[in-house]
């Protein structure tokens, strides 16, 4: 098959180093595991390298530097004026087996395009920050003694998997790294494996994502069947796509659809979402890294990777149904997860449902972008071209914003949980400090993650509260901050598609309503945790957190706040297209002015109205309702930082003016259903018991009777035969001689007879 000709690799030295991004963490995995074993056995050495955390930190820093070099190289080669579409797809290919570029050999290659660059930065940057956070979070907890090396080893292995998946140059390698991440997710959710709930959650996460992965594998096999290869350079080649489109466009849609089911499982979308809330059993850094910022993006990455199929001219209109399914799955999940988040009391579970909901936004955004790419004549029409690029860019930009904000929110929640737990400890275990330290996570029923045990923390943990406030605002889409730019883009694009095709009104409506719901549950979470009076003695004694935890919170707060600059730099057109390159068209200021005008004063009245409805719901109605119900003035004498004071003032004013009794809702069937996660987990368990357990019992019987039965019959038969044969061995040498003689005679006669 004809692959691409990559003759002009801009800076070979960088692309040659790129495999190190994957290899370094993988080596660190073995090193940390081995060193941890050695170090933990020796009490004086024990904390010498923070139980592997510092090694991991060094490796992740190196990875970030290499990633930034690779990204700079990519952007440089783009700026240098490569205008062929192909160079967008392949900046450089490194092949482990030979110096040249191969398309049909099995080798690990590096494939760099816009989507790679985006995900690579997100993964490398957040891995490093969350690693820093982990040192502050994991190493100060006595329960983690003697096992932190396991945490860091699995952590770096996960990073290796994520970076490998992003850089891989074929769907096969993508799948391999995808599974490495699944494994690490399983191991890290079950980090506290002696807790039955953690073991159960790990199993649930593993099995649920596995269901998706089976479909992904079938999809990949079908794709292989169609193209004869899984290399991106081959399957994205327009000549090859044309060839496939002629005969088997329907099969291709099925293959991509099955791959999408894999993405649904990995990114926790309805109906395979049940594992994500339970995955919060893992340590908080794991929730932040794997279940909020990186691994769950793998599904989105896979769908974004399918863009060349949807965008191909040869497949015009053929894949529109699949794009619709992607958008609908996203829309349903966005609303459903947001609704469940309304009633969660567990801080991390609110964030987990929020993650599902926001990932669903990105799926809807991608679905709409893919639909537009598939149905519009965007190769020849400049206006359509712009529409497709902006739709795709909005989804990718939301991925970026969400990863940054949600990683920060989880770290901030970890900081809160850590300090609440320590405060609880300080109060209740002061006398016997040290003795029963080892298993204090189990010996009482105090839940450090419940918002019942928080409240009024804004004055006690200023950095954490600020980070949480900015993160929440970013997720809510408060104008100018973080996710606002991308979320408005996704909502506007969903409505744009709904204009073309009325059946898209469903996802469009979902994302619009979801904006208001997001505003409510994120505000509720912040207000319940940080505003109002402390709910109990423990919350009143919480202290500020340590420096390792503060650093990443501080950095990410600025990343989320500077989203407006990213938008101005062209992140909203961050898509595989040569005409809308990174910062190539406008200066930063022009870009910001353009984005501002586009967002707030759209000349098309349709989008103008949609934007303001979304702002009204997400930034006014949702937070307003939450403010009327939760939070309030801080304790007497406590004061928050000046930038949080207005929020708390507004909150107490709204609460005083508009407070109402919502206990009728709290007791309603809907609230109970939401508390029980809409009974979906319950039905799955029932289905498992009835169908799977029933089938398993039958299968076990079949195994015992048919398969084991056959084996046993063979076994007993051979035993009785051997009884007979054994009686021939008398042990007497003379008998053996006789047998030899007779045997020789027989052979002789045989040979003679044949001759």
């Amino acid at each position: 098959m004809a692959g691409s000709e990559v003759t002009d690799i801009a800076a070979p030295h960088v692309t040659e180093l790129a495999p190190l991004i994957v290899l370094l963490p993988m080596i660190a995995f073995a090193v940390i595991l081995f060193l941890g074993k050695v170090f933990n056995g020796n009490p004086t050495w024990k904390n010498a390298v923070k139980e592997g955390g510092i090694i991991a930190l060094g490796v992740m820093s190196a990875v970030l530097v290499l990633s930034l070099l690779l990204i700079a190289d990519f952007i440089g080669s783009v700026q240098a004026g490569h205008d062929s579409v192909f160079h967008w797809f392949t900046s450089g290919v490194w092949d482990g087996t030979s110096a040249g570029v191969s398309t049909d050999k099995f080798g690990f290659g590096i494939y760099v395009d816009h989507i790679t660059v985006m995900l690579l930065f997100v993964a490398a940057f957040l891995c490093l920050l969350i690693n820093t956070f982990s040192i502050g979070y994991m190493n100060t907890d006595p329960i983690n003694d003697n096992r932190n090396h396991r945490f860091y080893a699995e952590f770096v292995l996960f990073c290796s998997g994520m970076l490998g998946m992003v850089l891989a140059d074929s769907f096969l390698w993508l799948f391999i790294f995808w599974e490495i991440m699944g494994l690490c997710s399983y191991l890290l959710i079950g980090f506290y494996y002696e807790r039955p709930s953690a073991a159960y959650a790990a199993k649930k996460a593993f099995l649920t994502t596995r269901i998706g992965d089976v479909f992904l594998m079938i999809g990949l096999v079908m794709l292989w069947d169609l193209f004869g290869s899984l290399d991106y350079t081959v399957v994205f080649d327009s000549a090859n796509i044309e060839h496939v489109a002629e005969h088997s466009a329907g099969t291709l849609q099925w293959a991509l659809g099955l791959m999408f089911i894999g993405a649904v499982g990995k990114s926790a979308q309805f109906p395979l979402h049940v594992w994500l809330p339970d995955a919060m059993e893992g340590p908080t850094p794991v929730s932040a890294l794997i279940h909020a910022a990186t691994m769950v993006n793998a599904g989105l990455y896979l769908v974004a990777r399918m863009f060349p199929f949807f965008g191909a001219e040869a497949l015009h209109g053929d894949l529109a149904d699949l794009a619709y399914i992607i958008a609908v799955v996203g829309g349903i999940t966005a609303v459903m997860a947001a609704a469940i988040a309304f009633v969660q009391m567990d801080l991390k579970k609110v964030l987990a449902y929020s993650t599902m909901s926001q990932l669903a936004y990105i799926f809807t955004g991608l679905g709409c972008a893919l639909y537009l790419a598939n149905t519009l004549d965007w190769h020849h029409n400049d206006k359509d071209h712009y529409i497709v690029i902006v739709a795709f860019g909005a989804a990718l930009f939301h991925l970026f914003n969400h990863a940054m904000a949600k990683g920060m929110l989880f770290m901030a929640s970890g900081s809160v949980i850590h300090e609440v737990h320590h405060a609880h400890h300080h109060l209740h275990h002061h006398d016997d400090h040290g003795d029963d330290h080892g298993d204090d996570h189990h010996d009482d029923h105090f839940d450090a993650q419940s918002m019942e045990n928080m409240g009024g923390l804004a004055s006690k943990m200023p950095i954490t509260a600020t980070a949480m406030l900015v993160g929440s605002a970013s997720i809510m889409g408060l104008p100018l901050i973080g996710g606002f730019w991308s979320k408005e883009g996704i909502i506007a694009n969903a409505w744009r598609v709904a204009q073309d095709d009325p059946k898209f009104l469903l996802p469009a409506m979902c994302v619009l309503i979801g904006a208001g719901m997001t505003g409510f549950y994120m505000s509720r979470m912040w207000l319940k945790t940080f505003a109002g009076k402390p709910n109990n003695e423990v919350a009143a004694h919480v202290g500020p957190t340590n420096t390792w935890i503060k650093i990443p919170l501080f950095l990410l707060t600025f990343v989320s706040l500077s989203s407006v600059f990213f938008a101005g730099m062209g992140f909203t057109h961050w898509a595989p297209d040569e005409n809308y390159a990174f910062m190539s068209e406008k200066s930063l200021v022009d870009g910001i002015i353009y984005e501002m005008g586009h967002a707030f004063a759209n000349e098309d009245s349709y989008f103008f109205i949609i934007t303001y409805i979304a702002i009204a719901l997400g930034a006014v109605a949702g937070p307003g309702l939450a403010m009327a119900l939760y939070g309030g003035e801080l304790e007497e004498g406590e004061s928050a930082k000046p930038w949080m004071t207005p929020v708390i003032r507004l909150n107490s004013w709204v609460k005083a003016r508009f407070n109402f009794d919502n206990s009728a809702f709290a007791e309603s069937t809907l609230a109970v259903a939401l508390q029980n996660r809409l009974y979906i987990d319950h039905y799955y368990d029932m289905a498992m018991l009835k169908i799977v357990a029933g089938f398993s019992t039958k299968a076990a019987d079949a195994d015992a009777d048919v398969i084991d039965g056959t084996i046993k019959t063979i076994e007993s038969g051979s035993q009785s035969i051997s009884e007979v044969v054994r009686s021939l061995t008398t042990g007497s040498a003379r008998d053996y001689i006789l047998m030899v003689a007779v045997g020789m005679l027989a052979i002789f006669m045989l040979v003679w007879g044949v001759a």
Binding site: A733, R734, Y736, I737, L738
Partner: protein
């Protein structure tokens, strides 16, 4: 000169006597002697064939076989000594540890 066919017939007779003795007798030394008898039957067959074909290769084989037989007897007798040391007997019927 004796007809090689007669020598061959004698050789066959000796082989059968040796074979019969090897499975019927229980004294290990007699069995060894019977084995030697069979070996010598083979030597005789070589000699007969050498005469018949007028080829000295057969004689050479015979010489070799005699040399090997000598060392074989030495090893065999050594085994019987060791066997006697362990089992206090050289009767083959009493030595059946290979059974089962």
């Amino acid at each position: 000169m004796i007809d090689p066919a007669l020598v061959s017939a004698l050789s066959a007779l000796m082989f059968v006597i040796g074979l019969g003795g090897a499975f019927t007798r229980k004294n290990a030394i007699i069995v060894l002697m019977c084995i030697e008898l069979m070996l010598n039957a083979a030597n005789m067959q070589f000699a007969a064939a050498a005469v018949h074909h007028g080829d000295t290769t057969g004689w050479v084989y015979t010489i070799f076989a005699i040399a090997i037989a000598a060392s074989e007897v030495a090893i065999g007798l050594a085994i019987f000594l060791a066997m006697y040391g362990q089992h206090d007997t050289i009767s083959l019927d009493d030595v059946d540890v290979l059974k089962n």
